[in-house]
Subunit: 355 residues, 2 copies
């Protein structure tokens, strides 16, 4: 078990990530003071007993599972339950679940009385390697992913591989989506992925690579907490197109759309001459290890139009995508919206032709 | 015209307050980039033309005037209009109006894409001396004042006495409520109030004392931006009881309730032996200069129960009030809720007896 610390100037102060087997048993019972748990219906079914054993008799808010719950009305319901439970500024909200739970509970904690404590206990691979760390909180709004939110650091994140054992294969795939994204940004993670490409779902491998991904993210967040200098923007690799598809097609989950987005944006990078050769081939192969078939959407071009609402864009006439360049290095490409949509459409056509 | 700067570690970075006659004409036209104006129906009726002349053809969101608009649904409507107007992270929201407009527009700006720019242009005396400065934003929620909000510094605050000329007498009274609060915290402001007690509505006096109040607040905010060390808590003098009455009785406005709250809490301070003699008498006289008749609510004790939800309270069984002690000095009194309610009831009875 190892700790990673993120030093920040913001709200909650510094953030400590307790990472590794046994982290839950060691740190969860130590959370002091009045607690308010947010979780979802799937996680509660699996871990309701553990929650009760660990945190005793404290209020538990159970969201319906799924991205649909990450909305303005659910946020209201959480804030209302917090008020009715007598939560105060010195209480701690515990986000016990995946990315949706972490994002919305984090936002509720940041808003309630202008900020209560928040501890993240991510139970999915995706939330462990990425969304629970770094203080980005949000809900979807008016058809735009994460359009309403706050930067608000959790005082602690408890990342325990214990929870991975109950994850369905699809959830592991989603987490691997973000892990491959880190692979495109970090030489060490890329090497680990290449070495383990024949068994990416191995638990020992996942535990180690989770620590590496969080370490990478912690450095980036400490450098650019509020996503203004450009460092943090790199973490959006694959996400511009991924988010646009996610909101348009809905059927798959976030991590799968990140993989699809990476694949489509890699196509753009190759077309623009920014990435190529063996490296591009090997990234494509990694993506296909996790997602056997990349969808060749017939209306990909229309779906991509949603990318104009991405937070990275200074205006809605251009789209900014972060793409792999070479090992451990990414680049930003800014394209007029029409040109971006055209390329996304071309990638879909190519996928269709190649069956 | 003078500038006051607040150095902060948070979100928007530093905050500059341009203060004095001519500030609007000088600084408002300089606000660069895409703009989104939030105002209310009263202010828009008076200043719609000035807004159009100054900011040109940019979207204007007009809230119905009044505290009732400071709610979760109005916040949603503002965020929706921002999305539909294509506001981006580099746009600037301009809060043009009183405290309600400033509080809700500031919160919308903090949440939209996790933060756009915000400039406050306060048009009421209360907003100028107090609420537009310091980055506290909020809406009322579930019957609790400012229960949902964020700390988010405006990049600029433009405080121009020009707008005071169109204020009804009652609005001046409300601003004077907060000014007297500053008088109970700051010797210089207390002296200015004492010297001008025969004409507290004089515009030259108001312009000078506004600068003094903002200077006082700027120092406190720089020391304790997030209201954790105790310094900023002093600015809540009169507000614990004021807020409780405000939500219970509704009929009056915030500044009037601050005056009433100060009067009732001064009674508690005297009963507890913390304040007294000539100083207490003189503060009471100042309050009565502005609010001729302090209401002797027959159900004051029940109304005071709402104070248990105040953000200062660590638990809902005690109530914390900030009271004047001696010139330029305040103190915090923590009371069991029942004792606090009893004293508030006793003060109401005394007011009734004295007619």
């Amino acid at each position: 078990m190892q700790d990673i610390e993120i030093l920040t100037s913001s709200a909650g102060g510094n953030s400590v990530i307790h990472c590794g087997a046994g982290a839950f048993d060691e740190y969860a019972p130590q959370i002091a003071g009045k607690k308010f748990i947010v979780t979802d219906s799937n996680v509660y079914r699996l871990y309701g007993k553990l929650i009760a054993q660990t945190f005793g008799d404290c209020p538990v808010f159970v969201l319906p599972a799924g991205e649909k719950s990450k909305n303005y009305n659910s946020l209201k319901n959480i804030l209302k339950a917090m008020t009715e439970s007598g939560v105060t500024r010195s209480s701690t909200v515990i986000a016990f679940g995946g990315g949706v739970v972490g994002d919305i509970a984090g936002l509720a904690a940041s808003l309630y009385m202008r900020g209560t404590g928040i501890v993240q206990i991510p139970t999915t691979l995706l939330a462990q390697v990425d969304s629970s760390v770094g203080g980005k909180t949000a809900i979807d709004f008016c058809g735009v992913k994460n359009a309403v939110g706050a930067f608000y650091q959790p005082s602690q994140v408890i990342v325990d591989p214990l929870f991975l054992r109950t994850l369905p294969a699809r959830e592991l795939r989603c987490g691997l989506g973000e892990i491959i994204k880190y692979g495109a940004l970090d030489c060490g993670i890329y090497a680990a992925l290449s070495q383990n490409q024949h068994d990416l779902s191995d638990y020992a491998f996942l535990e180690n690579v989770t620590f590496d991904c969080i370490s990478h993210k912690a450095k980036v967040v400490a450098e650019d907490e509020r996503d203004v200098s450009g460092a943090r923007k790199t973490l959006n690799l694959g996400h511009t197109t991924g988010h646009a598809f996610e909101l348009y097609y809905k059927r798959k989950s976030h991590g799968e759309f990140v993989l699809i987005g990476m694949y489509y944006e890699l196509y753009i990078a190759v077309r623009c001459g920014i990435c190529g050769g063996h490296y591009a081939e090997s990234l494509r192969a990694l993506i296909k290890k996790v997602l056997k078939k990349i969808p060749s959407y017939s209306d990909a071009q229309s779906a991509a139009a949603g990318a104009k609402y991405d937070k990275k864009n200074e205006e809605q006439s251009t789209v900014s995508v972060i793409v792999p360049k070479r090992e451990g290095e990414s680049a930003e490409i800014k394209l007029p919206i029409a040109e971006y949509m055209q390329m996304i459409g071309d990638c879909a056509k190519e996928l269709k032709q190649n069956g």
